[in-house]
Amino acid sequence: MSTGVAALSNGFKGFARYMGGVMGADAYTKYLEHHREAGHKEPPLSEREFWRDRTDRQDANPQGRCC
């Protein structure tokens, strides 16, 4: 019974993670990962700064959506 619940919760978590990936919810995590791996000297942007920068860059570089 408990294994069934655990499997279900794992499945749901996996699905939520997948949806999050598709929608770009994990962008900041990925940015931090990149920042760490690239060995930048300066500290990374904070979460707030990162999302601001992200939408502000979309302002300057619009992407089409399909019909």
Binding site: V22, E33, E37, D59, Q63, C66
Partner: protein, 766 residues
Amino acid sequence: MAGTPDDRNGSFRREGAVATDQALPPAAVDENAREAEERKWTPGKIALWAAIALLGGVAWFMLAIIRGETVNAIWFVFASVCTYLIGYRFYSKVIERYITRPDDRRATPAEYKADGKDYVRTDRNVLFGHHFAAIAGAGPLVGPVLAAQMGYLPGTIWIIIGVVLAGAVQDYLVMFFSMRRGGRSLGQMAREELGVIGGTAALIATLLIMVIIVAILALVVVNALGESPWGVFSVSLTIPIALFMGIYLRYLRPGKVMEVSLIGFVLLMAAIIGGGIVAETPWGADIFSLDKVTIAWGLIVYGFIAAILPVWLLLAPRDYLSTFMKIGVIVMLALAIIVVRPEITVPAFSEFASRDNGPVFPGSLFPFLFVTIACGALSGFHALISSGTTPKLVEKERQTRFIGYGGMLMESFVAIMALVAAISIDRGLYFAMNSPTALTGGTVETAATWVNSLGLSGVNLTPEFLSQTAANVGEESIVSRTGGAPTLAVGLAHIMQQFIGGTAMMAFWYHFAIMFEALFILTAVDAGTRVARFMLQDSIGNFVPKFKEASWRPGAWLCTAIMVGAWGAVLLMGVTDPLGGINTLFPLFGIANQLLAAIALSVCLAIAAKRGSFKYLWIVALPLAFAAVVTITASYQKIFSPTPAVGYFANNAAFSKALAEGKTEFGSAKTVVAMEAVVRNTAIQGWLSVIFVVLSIIVIATALLATVRAFRNRAAGVPTKDNEDPALPSRVFAPAGLIPTRAERELLAEWEKVPANLRFERAGHH
């Protein structure tokens, strides 16, 4: 084939001969091991593919040959899915082997340009969903509905075969070539490959096509919301909901995308339910019953404001909402069709399949069916998405087949489901909803009489049925609700109520469907206006450099106003058109979209030729030739056809003559003002057709010239300069498709053992 100066087997591997790091496991599965695995046909594998082929064959047989009194919708699912699987497994591999020739030892832009922001290696399955959400919108939901006028079979064949041989090929090739060029846009590639003339023609054509596409999408929304207080209320509420989400993400809880999307979704559902309650009240019906012209003006004002507001406030949050809804709705519709399995009574070929005077859209099956269904079979607009965003996120070169080709197959499946939803409703109802008021008369009595007078087999429409259906879906009237969206909504409500909720839920499902279509379209309108504005700013910037500065407000606002003005004018023209709007403008939408496909395929043809794949150039030439023939024939008929219903100028001449003779009404135009409107509209539509087709012919001609030049150079042994980014060694590995093969799993296991500090290149700069 002797005589083509192709690169021979083996020799073409040199182009990707990059030395990968010896300290790391290989970045690609060994070529020979992969070949061996692919070529080895185990009994299990043979049985699987034989079963898929058999099931697909039976399904096609049921749809195309048996065509009993009724046909079950499940056969559409089997026919499409089996054909997609076969196309994906066999045809896309041919393209991979002979045209794209990916090399996983090369780093993708996401690796060599990695910045953690625009260039980010993304898991292939996530990117598949992301790419699919970016390409799928209202297009595949609308075109197939209108095309159902001809019966179910022509549309089904074109959607399924078209995607395998044309649409998916275009998306895959554009994505791959853009990826090899660091994620360059279609416009930039056109300029590089086709030169100044071809590149400029492609740019102008793209700009005009975007205007037309945005205008007609907006027209679909206007037609769905006209005189519908429920719809107007709930769709208007998406704006404050999106604003709230934007502020939430910016100031309250930055980055909590899933959380805010869930909140937005709940608010959206509340807006739909609330709309039903408000529309019931006298004041609600009073305030929110707007005529189409008012809604069109509202949309124009909205379009301008939305395009100059910062992205974070409106576009980004609505984008999350729209993605969330898109995936949910499509999964739900697929489940419902599989569970409910509606019986279809529409004939394979309708009475209109062999005529050119159908009420939903005029013109004969060839070429007009093929332009009416653009998205879902072959959509040029995808080339703008497949170049640019997605290529910057691809992790390994081989994954482009899964994401590009496979993603488009998914969109085609959406189109098939839209078709099934549209043909599952009563045929008489279909024609009453999709024919312009000029024909139906606008009331249930006149509409029923008119539909019954068409002499369609098995159709006996009663006014009561029309009123009952309208009451069921919570609308005042459903007569002449053209544009495709309301028909799809009725079809979806019809299927969904059998799945969840019964008749009592029909009104909810109807407005749920209208809501998500409006959401997709509003996002496309906003984003399309922004992209078009930037293209215009960039073009003017060549003469007045100041315009190139994106942050220069007056320039940005002026260009936004010009673009909104352009699509707004076309939208108003469609809304006020005495001839009906959608039926005259939708062919222009399809032609525009497929001319863009022809442009994209021309660029791919030139690139493939430069890379020396002459023997298999037909893979690109086939869809290009088809798209060119279809769109040029359709344009030719729209321009030169003597039948007024089909030819813009013939109609123009007929109405001008009537005006000159002093008539005060002619055809469906009941006043002199309406007649003048027809003269003006047909002239604009006619000249737009002329401009589109001339631009596209220029692009195709320059591409053919580039191809011939590449052939001559190759034959003479002159080296051609390609415009790819230099090949850099890859330091990562990931499987190519959904399920990793054995060789891929083994290699993955090797990579697992590599210490983390060795896995990625340490940049150390910046």
